[in-house]
């Protein structure tokens, strides 16, 4: 979740900075809408079962989630063409897991849609993204209150593991639904075939979930290091330029 702008407060804004401000403002609005819909939907829930099935939440948020989570792929482009100073591979890995959840877990399968995982990801993602995009937008114009910087580099400590938990819950329900062979067959490419290779969607999800074990600590440590650098960095000047 890095994407710090190149610019410091002294320099004048470049064209790419106007674009980035626009991008970050739109994404802030988008994720605020998702949070708003989440809260609105949550207020209609009466029973514990409504919560555990995230009743109506996916249906209400589907379009917004698809639009604004897919838009995050642009951040990989931003990093790759150098208008933001981040490692494009790290950004891609971070976006990839969410794209997987939105398009390859929730979109095709019913069972994750009606699991508590949707509530968890909608909540954790929207809080995390709102603070992140607000931070980026303010960072580009160089007028960033310390409070925002602190939130951006502190909230993730809780929000990131919560979000990952939600993603894993969604994947678990998808995998559980896909386990019976007659269902699995519909989404897999199984032997025998002329290419002598197979793709089994059930094992694909199991493997993807296992991949969180090595990848999550790397990304989390990266964020903790960023936090250390930015909140407790050697000088306050350097802090503002990040």
């Amino acid at each position: 979740m890095s994407g710090d702008s190149k610019i410091s407060e002294k320099k004048s804004l470049k064209l790419s900075d106007y674009y980035l401000i626009l991008y970050n403002v739109i994404l802030t609005v988008g994720w605020s809408l998702i949070l708003y819909v989440t809260v609105q939907t949550g207020l209609t829930w009466k029973t514990q079962n409504d919560v555990l099935t995230s009743k109506n939440l996916y249906k209400n948020n589907e379009f917004l989630l698809q639009i604004f989570q897919t838009a995050a792929l642009l951040e990989v482009v931003h990093a790759a063409i150098g208008i933001v100073r981040s490692n494009p591979v790290l950004v891609f890995v971070q976006v990839l897991s969410r794209i997987t959840v939105v398009w390859f877990v929730a979109y095709p399968f019913e069972s994750p849609r009606s699991s508590v995982g949707i509530l968890v990801v909608c909540t954790a993602w929207s809080f995390a993204e709102i603070i992140r995009y607000v931070y980026y937008a303010l960072n580009i114009i160089g007028k960033i209150p310390y409070f925002i910087t602190w939130c951006r580099y502190s909230f993730f400590i809780a929000l990131y593991p919560i979000g990952v938990t939600g993603e894993l819950i969604c994947m678990y329900y998808a995998a559980k639904y896909l386990e019976p062979l007659n269902i699995r067959k519909r989404y897999s490419f199984l032997l025998p075939n002329n290419l002598n290779i197979s793709f089994d969607i059930y094992y694909f999800f199991i493997l993807t979930m296992l991949l969180y074990i090595p990848v999550f600590p790397i990304l989390y440590k990266h964020m903790l290091a960023q936090r250390e650098k930015i909140l407790n960095g050697p000088s306050k000047k350097a802090k503002k330029q990040e």
Binding site: L191, P192, N194, L195, N196, I197
Partner: protein
């Protein structure tokens, strides 16, 4: 007369040690002098440079007058032979486990192998046995060692792909060649041809370098007709190696084997471009028309 050489760390630029060597000392002598003071720093794991980010100095180069050298710790080292043997023994054993003990891998379904499955296993075993024997009896390495983590990285690559290919090639639901025995024969003889070509190049390269030396020469075709490829590319051993795997993939009609070909091919192209560049830099009279790995193309 002796020389005081100050050794600075190439990252922090801080002094590491100061060593004393004879006035006619070369870089290796300096490395040995460093080891005398810091025993864990054996010469193979030390890189010395004239500038902090310059070119590494060769062991034979004299140090006369250069009283400051920049030092980099390359980390624990392991011999090339050890790395190669570990890398290549894995695929041999792994493929054979899948082939000889299918019940262990695929459950107790009875397996009647296709002829091509037996042939593929023979080719695979031949290839890796050849590599192991070449490592022991043919190759002469110009570098003695490499960083120890390479052994894990490379083994993961070779062992992983071996399991990937072996799993599908020996699978009870394996589908043999769509174009029948003709496809299998083309694949098999193409594979064999390229294996012999690869061996010929390795022998030619061995003969280029006298035993125990680090001499480098321009390779040219020898009396062995397989080596004619030296007229067109700098690294025909890789050309043949890629050829081997293309034909293996055709013979077994296996996408996993083809993916292995692509991954290996990509790596070999990178190595070939590097070696090609080194040849051209090192030898003024390096043949102009020669490409790195694919004749006339790359």
């Amino acid at each position: 007369m002796s020389l005081n050489v100050e050794i600075l760390h190439s990252k922090s630029l801080k002094p590491v040690v100061t060593v004393q060597v004879g006035s006619s000392a070369n870089v290796l002598d300096v490395k040995k002098a460093i080891q005398a003071q810091k025993s864990y720093l054996y010469p193979d794991r030390i890189m010395l440079r004239l500038e902090a980010t310059g070119k590494p100095l060769k062991d034979e180069e004299k140090v006369s007058g250069n009283v400051k050298l920049y030092f980099k710790d390359l980390g624990p080292q392991v011999g090339w032979t050890t790395v190669f043997l570990t890398e290549y023994a894995g695929p041999l054993v792994i493929y054979l486990i899948f082939y000889l003990r299918p019940a262990f891998i695929y459950g107790s379904r009875s397996v009647k192998y296709q002829d091509v499955t037996n042939l593929a296993c023979a080719c695979w075993v031949f290839h890796y046995a050849k590599r192991l024997l070449e490592t022991i009896f043919v190759h002469r390495f110009s570098h003695a060692t490499m960083p120890i983590r390479n052994i894990f990285k490379n083994s993961f690559y070779y062992w992983g792909f071996a399991a990937f290919v072996a799993y599908f090639n020996n699978h009870p639901l394996y589908t043999p060649a769509a174009f029948g025995s003709l496809q299998i024969y083309i694949g098999f003889f193409g594979f064999l041809f390229n294996e012999l070509g690869n061996l010929s190049i390795h022998l030619a390269l061995r003969d280029l370098r006298p035993a125990g030396s680090k001499v480098r020469k321009i390779p040219f075709p020898t009396s062995n007709p397989f080596t004619f490829l030296f007229n067109f590319v700098s690294c025909p051993n890789y050309t043949y190696e890629i050829g081997s795997w293309i034909f293996f993939s055709i013979m077994t009609q296996s996408l996993p084997a083809f993916l292995f070909t692509l991954a290996g091919g990509y790596q070999m192209v990178i190595w070939a471009l590097g070696k090609h560049r080194n040849y051209r830099r090192e030898f003024e009279k390096y043949p102009r028309g020669r490409k790195a790995i694919f004749p006339f193309l790359l």
